[in-house]
Assembly symmetry: D2
Homo-oligomer: 295 residues x 4
């Protein structure tokens, strides 16, 4: 990765209020700073300046040194999937309030100048990759930055499956399903399901049972380089589905094996130098601020 | 550590039913195998064989190559504190049902022969060490294999304090207190408080809030080499206490700083070769066994 | 309801091991006691005695004074739906371990003699009835002994809806859904979702949020005679479904109103005189038994 | 209770910012409306008008028709204990943000005029009364508007006790303790401990286990007229304490019996006619507001 960037890709969820204005301000600012700009096609439709190079979403990663995403954590999550195989660095501009992944405010565009000049923190966030096999034939595969979730197809509370860690049997479950989350995903769906927060620098994966029959099941945190295998019972009355980051769904088949492990490529997330994870936590979860005695 | 052991120390909670019998059987077995044996003084009172060398609890660690503890997880926890500065390897014999730390059953004494012959797994479990300072003067210090807990002195639900991680402010709390647990302690008090299970090999610490005023507080897992600092508010109406492994208590003073970090010495826990952490989890928490389709 | 019963209906989940034996033993026993017996058609296929009157499941309630269900809580739940409009008393014989609804063991058939002689406890358990309306047109209705659940259609974690209690706005939700449970259902799906246990005699309904976005949402218990109305957002990306007792599903439409209230008819559950709800709780949830000091 | 009030008692936590101003404004307003006023002694020290009748806190209830409390929920809780045996109606003025019990804002003093003219909602909130007996001798008794809590004396996580409901054994516990809360208290300490919210009009009591050893223990809600008895094990290593509303503490003795039941007298809480419990819930717990589609 170059210390500074030459070609900047831009993508944004332009339907969201404010994003359009931020997009145009950003483009003008970058042009003024003489950077090459390349805009994702749909995003480009909202531009005042109609003379910029545009590109399909799927070719974005290969054609820029830095991808700037304007929007919320969901937009950055989607963009991350687009560029993950090229490991293009990604910078997120939020829509006015701190996101876990989008930590530059639209009112702080001058921070981008510093970042483009090489003053930034590069944080690698790992993804999970999942493969579903039935009788040794691959029937589906997908990646997740937040979480891989085994969820019921039609009737909740009816999935039976076994969990193995590095080929060692851990336990069987009768439940609504299982969330397997990265540290990045620990503040997303897994948190709603009662999972703990994992610091982003922790090399760990958390397994959060969904509505387990037995009250003794609890979230368990394992090392990040472990391989997780789920064997879906051939006797379930409904076929569960596998969902990565809540984007698309793969229907499983009875008795299939699902293998989940860390993906080789990681998300290269760019932060300004004053980035502070705990500040984001406090802001998003309304945690207690400094007490007066140390202020 | 030698591949095999010469002098074996033995300690047991002899008041517990069954421990006395196991103790005598073990001693006879080890004498038969021609090992040197040294018995903790109080434990020795329950012996049939009265000609063995005895020693005070506090000198046990320095004078044996291996310490065998007969009893439950609580007994092993106490023994671990005794030998921790010498890092003497510790082996636990339970009282008939699997413990998290005592994984040899009284009926499996032959496994000890293998272990003494060098066939074992050595697992290092880290401890936390805590120091309380007031105006830069140390007012207390203690170690914990399971957890360091800040708990209320008299009135629950009334402690205010701030948490810092490596000098970065994380958040303030108004709560009953905070449990800071190791992976070993994650299946003890922290689990009752709603914390996640941490795999013993995960290098991590979990912070579990106790009855927080705000419903937004959740357990958070951080890297094991982080330094945690708690600053107790000078304005609390009751003085909280610090408890390590629920053994003794240190009264804090208003405005004190509590620093918690990984201890340099670790517990050297000895397991038989067929040790399986997940089997213990399933046994202790009644987790689901293998389903018939993979048996 | 008559103090004693003349015609006894019998239904059982005969595919389950043990049920067939219990069924035949029960039939012989009742014939010996000279009662009229009427058997549900599918159940009858497993009978040795082929000369008994059989009947369709849906006509069972109208044609007997007492319905005996052999099986687990799920079997009794299904049977309850069959007879609810006739309020036929129902007695459950379990498959060897206590159920919440089936509290006579196959080895205690003599208890049935007492019950048939009028020595029993009659406990009324209320049901919920739900109606879905879109533009004032009813698009579905169903009853629940355990719970009415609003669940996602395809993508979890994406339903937005409002909750009203007796026409007063309570709150809006962004979540996976909502479980609305009776005391009977409080030990079923709602418990897995983190809901409290409601004593069966408590006239109350509990609302348990499923995986809420906000960590501040908690189960709330309201009076049993309240009317609950859910207004599903017209802007959800997936259409949620309504499930009563996890049996069948009704697809909702955007912007529909779902009204849930206590059903007029109740389940008339028959217990032996020594029935003890807390014993069932202890047995099913492995709660602590009497300590030695009061034994 | 008279439809309108003649003598108004006033009490406030005058050390809290803003309370002093509200106090003087309120007094002037009531004098202008020609009401008799009687001020609690400590509160009177903050008055500009020094010619008003003052009275000790303990005689307040008997000498006024209505008690107005200025402060937060804690102030009203304390005032409620003062007047409970006289069942004097109580009205709470908060310090600028909605409390669960203090629902008139300092800026809405005109609402008081309506209330004094008889336009109000009277809501009765029940209290719990607890008696500790050892060998049939009473060793302590106290009342609770929020909760009766059995808590550890020195070492948490070590109390063993049995719970009986109306003389029927429910279960034994090994835990940090037990919170027994009213609907009023369900949004206080019990909520931090994982208990459900009980609507104030629900006639029910919730038992919330504190850090139970077994993960199978859950909050249980029972009818409000049940009598709860706790038998503390004679073998606990620390003597637990009983705390009512977190105010004072009673030390228990080994083997004592604690009986908890609804108090005959109730708190008579006065609300303005536009009182809305769910609005308070939304405000205090940051629950979701109306969605745009029904606004």
């Amino acid at each position: 990765m170059p210390a500074s960037f030459n070609t900047i890709g831009i993508i944004g969820r332009v339907k969201t209020s404010g994003v359009k204005e931020t997009l145009n301000t950003l483009v003008d600012y970058l042009l003024h700073l003489k950077y090459n700009i390349i805009i994702e096609k749909e995003t480009a439709e909202s531009l005042h300046n109609l003379h910029l190079q545009t590109i399909d979403r799927e070719h974005l990663g290969k054609n820029c040194d830095l991808l700037i995403v304007i929007g919320g954590d969901g937009s950055l999550l989607n963009a991350a999937h687009t560029v993950i195989n090229d490991e293009t660095p990604v910078l997120g501009i939020n829509r006015g309030s701190l996101g876990f992944l989008t930590d530059i405010s639209p009112s702080e565009l001058e921070k981008i100048k510093d970042i483009l000049a090489g003053k930034f923190i590069l944080e690698k966030r790992f993804l999970l990759t999942s493969i579903i096999k039935s009788d040794h034939t691959v029937i589906g595969t997908d990646d997740a930055l937040n979480e891989v979730a085994l969820i019921p197809g039609a009737i909740p509370h009816m999935i039976e499956f076994e969990i193995y860690i590095d080929d060692t049997f851990m336990c069987s479950h009768a439940s609504d399903g299982l969330i397997i989350a990265t540290p990045t995903g620990s503040t997303a769906y897994a948190l709603s399901g009662g999972g703990p927060i994992l610091h982003p620098q922790l090399d760990a994966i958390v397994l959060v049972p969904m509505f387990p029959h037995s009250l003794n099941h609890r979230p368990i945190v394992i090392e990040g380089n472990r391989e997780i295998r789920i064997i879906v019972s051939p006797y379930n009355t409904t076929l569960p589905r596998l969902s990565c980051d809540g984007r698309e769904y793969i229907n499983t088949v009875a008795g299939c094996h699902i293998t989940i492990r860390k993906k080789i490529e990681s998300l290269h997330l760019i932060h300004p130098l004053d980035y502070n994870y705990y500040e984001t936590l406090r802001s998003k979860l309304h945690w207690g601020k400094k007490l007066h005695y140390t202020e």
